[in-house]
Subunit: 132 residues, 2 copies
């Protein structure tokens, strides 16, 4: 690790096991409120970790900041994410995100339009789905 | 500069001189659309650079990612911003942001609720205002 390598945010809290496979950390950056209607969090996924399938009634934007990650929408191939990549996730699209098997991965997750809902959690991403 | 220091995003385009004092660079990360109602850009300010006074009908969120910057709301003292700081700017609040005099500064700017409007530009920040 290079001497000047410092992450932008502290790691935060352990992500809830009900909605994640493996170990991930969430730092809430902007709590939801009824004025900005926008919740923002930073998520660090350890290698192999990912969240469950889920969807957002208001959509979501992901900004990859470190490492190599995966993003998949239901019925489509897994996309590789690298530092600087941005993902635009339309409302109500089932998807998941996480680290690749051999790299930690960090992204900022932005949930706009929270007046329509924030997140609906679904089933875990199986090892078979993850390894495709 | 340490060997492994790499920015997250490319610098982008020169910020428009009509709305900025000094040199700044804007990389549009998420263009506005009528579905996510959220425009996101990365801004790099060279030392001393800042944008004009302005306001957002839908509010704004700033995430500082590198360097040392300034943020000021009309009638309040200048706040110092460092890597990892987050600023929550309510709708219709006059404000400006930029680099400190001796450091480059980079932030991600998130404009939610763009269905209400994105930005209204006002007068430049004078040297007297900036040096307070």
């Amino acid at each position: 690790m290079p001497e000047n390598k410092t992450t932008i945010f502290p790691k935060g809290e352990r992500a809830p096991a009900n909605y994640f496979t493996g170990t991930a950390w969430i730092k809430l950056l902007v709590p939801n409120d009824g004025v900005l209607n926008c919740q923002i969090g930073n998520v660090v996924f350890e290698p192999g970790a990912r969240n469950n399938w889920h969807k957002h009634a208001g959509g979501q934007l992901l900004i990859a900041t470190e490492g190599t990650g995966y993003y998949q929408e239901k019925g489509k191939p897994i996309q590789l994410l690298r530092k600087g990549d941005v993902v635009n996730i339309p409302p109500d699209i089932e998807h998941w995100h996480g680290a690749s098997p051999d790299s930690e991965f960090t992204h900022i997750a932005i949930n706009p339009n929270t007046q329509k809902g924030i997140v609906e959690w679904l089933q875990p991403v199986t090892d078979e789905e993850y390894e495709q």
